[in-house]
């Protein structure tokens, strides 16, 4: 009994100490219900200095939470329980959230600096007139290659993935729309195609790619490519930026015949509690200086035209991440194809994954 008693006293005192510590920490951060802006963003997707700067300039306190996938974020917001003021999902998820009536329409009169955004990234199919969302970052789908194993002139188009010398040396990102899309693009078709014969042709073409494929993986591609496990990979530009940073032999190409253009946009979920604070944050992020600082920290491409001019030439002249107009013209944003067509994409992709020669 004595042992239990001392243990109990010890544990309670530890709990009290920890409690006081956490209270002290909370107090020093100064949260209260009116001045808090709750932001739900991808992990490590904003320069932490910007949050501090925003707190200082606006007087609001930022409560910052992170998620790791659009789906996780969707469930969390849909279930409620937390009052998120700002969230930053990708374009297809924005459409889904709009359909589910989970977003607040933005009041344009309260947003300053929308003109800073490149008009090419406004008024897109997933959100006409940007009623619900403001672009945060954008990127593309492309090919990453290692110049130790393949020369640059051999990797320019999607069709180059089918080259026989790349046998067992290609990694693909595990996404139905991405992989089906690249096959469609390589045939000169739209990656939003719903034409059955086109889709079937694309899938048949993918079957021919099987001997070249080393793996169909997700986030691990980054690590594999940096460690030179494979010569070529298909992945997103943001991922590519990080790979390139860690291995100078790697390069990123956007096939000129067309590819996917993706977005992560700022939205205001229906759970918003501090609308004023949310608008303040949107305006803050639209300021060219802040957008530029963020883009430099994260390494993704900013849609903010005014910010692009503030960025170092070395970054913006990089065709890999700020492609020329001709390439841009061929990029396509994913359209919501409806659940039936999406199922077809998934089925065909699955068939391709199971295909063995």
């Amino acid at each position: 009994m004595k042992k239990l008693q001392t243990l109990l006293i010890g544990i309670i005192s530890i709990i009290l100490i920890l409690f006081v510590c956490s209270q002290q920490l909370k107090k020093s951060q100064g949260f209260s219900s009116e001045n808090t802006v709750t932001i739900y963003n991808w992990g490590d997707y904003i320069d932490p200095d910007l949050i501090k700067k925003f707190e200082k300039e606006s007087g609001y306190k930022v409560r910052y939470e992170t998620f790791d996938s659009n789906e996780a974020m969707f469930t969390k917001i849909k279930q409620g329980g937390t009052n998120y003021d700002i969230a930053i999902p990708s374009e297809y998820m924005i459409q889904k959230m709009m359909d589910e009536k989970m977003l607040v329409a933005l009041d344009k009169s309260k947003i300053k600096g929308l003109s800073n955004i490149d008009p090419r990234f406004l008024n897109l199919s997933f959100d006409p007139n940007n009623q619900y969302s403001i672009p945060y970052f954008w990127g593309t789908l492309g090919i990453i290659y290692n110049d130790k194993f393949v020369s640059a002139d051999k990797i320019k188009h999607w069709n180059d993935l089918w080259r026989p010398e790349l046998k067992n040396n290609v990694m693909l990102i595990d996404g139905a729309r991405e992989v089906m899309g690249l096959a469609l693009n390589s045939e000169g078709q739209s990656l939003n195609s719903t034409n059955h014969t086109q889709l079937l042709e694309a899938k048949n073409k993918l079957n021919l790619l099987t001997p070249n494929i080393k793996a169909i993986v997700a986030d691990e591609i980054k690590m594999y490519m940096v460690n030179e496990e494979s010569a070529v990979a298909v992945s997103f530009s943001g991922e590519a930026a990080e790979m390139l940073e860690n291995n100078e032999h790697l390069h990123y190409v956007i096939p000129s015949e067309g590819s996917n253009l993706w977005f992560d946009n700022i939205v205001m979920p229906k759970t918003v509690k501090n609308k004023k604070g949310a608008y303040a944050f949107i305006n803050f992020m639209l300021e060219p200086k802040n957008a530029a600082q963020n883009a430099e920290y994260i390494g993704y491409s900013t849609p903010n035209q005014a910010a692009v001019s503030l960025l170092p030439k070395k970054i913006t002249a990089d065709k890999q991440f700020y492609p020329d107009d001709q390439t841009m013209a061929n990029l396509e944003v994913y359209k919501n194809l409806g659940s039936k067509n999406l199922e077809r994409y998934n089925d065909l992709f699955l068939e391709f994954k199971m295909y063995r020669k």
Partner: protein
């Protein structure tokens, strides 16, 4: 006595190597000058500096431990009395039913428990945050405590309680003077099991966090998308050292007890020898 060569030693060595090499690899890279784990450039303490400047992360560490200590404490209280209630249930069928219900909770996947808590809490209109996570942790720790305490109760000799009652002890006195001292090792083991369960639980916590509250496992998981920062390596190193300290401390405490007991026995023996 000559030491015997055994194949099992190699096996043991292999297992320990397998378990410890990744940890040492991680610790090694926490001192890396370059920002990633791809190649080693040189030694620096920079990541430890950024760790201590990151008040958000430190705050998360503190609440994670607070949560673990507190939820384990409450779960132990409830679990201990729960085990006693199961043990003293008269009807045999009822008792086995209760026990199987407890076991089902033990083996059901964390993801299911987490999702059901999320649905339940939002249905009740509770705000997600510290209290929701605390309740979830208490709930999934209770079955563990019950399972730790119950065998001790079954080992106990019931005639001790009868004897205590014959000597005029009331209910509370029986619990305090007879049952608790006897099952103390089970309670302590249950507490520490619950503590570690709470500390590294991800699946349940992930569902029921919200409103700015986050624990270490959830935070590290969402950061991992961008490749794990070396700051996390630094933090893991510190946590590893901390748990090592705990183990060493526990070793000395138990060693101390043993020597005291041994001393006492020796003293008694010599006294007996003197008398003879």
């Amino acid at each position: 006595m000559r030491k015997k060569w055994r194949w099992s030693n190699i096996y043991l060595l292999l297992i320990f190597a397998l378990l410890y090499i990744p940890i040492f690899y991680l610790i090694f890279y926490s001192f890396n000058k370059s920002g990633s784990m791809t190649h080693f450039e040189g030694i620096t303490l920079e990541h430890y500096h950024t760790l201590f400047e990151d008040t958000r992360l430190l705050g998360i560490v503190i609440v994670t431990f607070l949560l673990a200590f507190l939820s384990a404490l409450i779960a132990t209280l409830i679990g201990t009395f729960g085990a006693m209630a199961i043990y003293y249930t008269k009807k045999r069928q009822m008792r086995t039913t209760l026990l199987s219900l407890n076991n089902i909770l033990m083996v059901s996947p964390d993801v299911i428990i987490g999702a059901s808590f999320l649905i339940f809490f939002t249905f009740l209109g509770l705000k997600l945050g510290f209290s929701s996570v605390l309740m979830a942790h208490i709930a999934f720790s209770i079955p563990i405590v019950v399972l730790m305490v119950l065998p001790k109760l079954q080992e106990m000799n019931d005639s001790m309680i009868d004897a205590a009652r014959d000597l005029g002890a009331g209910n509370w006195a029986v619990i305090r003077k007879v049952i608790f001292p006897y099952i103390a090792p089970g309670i302590i083991a249950g507490y520490f099991m619950a503590f570690t369960y709470s500390l590294d639980d991800f699946a349940v916590t992930f569902f029921v966090t919200g409103n700015g509250f986050s624990t270490l496992s959830v935070e590290i998981y969402s950061r991992a998308r961008q490749g794990i920062n070396l700051e996390i390596n630094a933090l893991s190193t510190l946590l590893f050292l901390f748990s090592m300290l705990l183990v060493i401390g526990y070793y000395f405490v138990s060693q101390d007890n043993l020597t005291k007991k041994q001393k006492k026995r020796r003293k008694e023996q010599s006294e007996v020898a003197d008398l003879l």
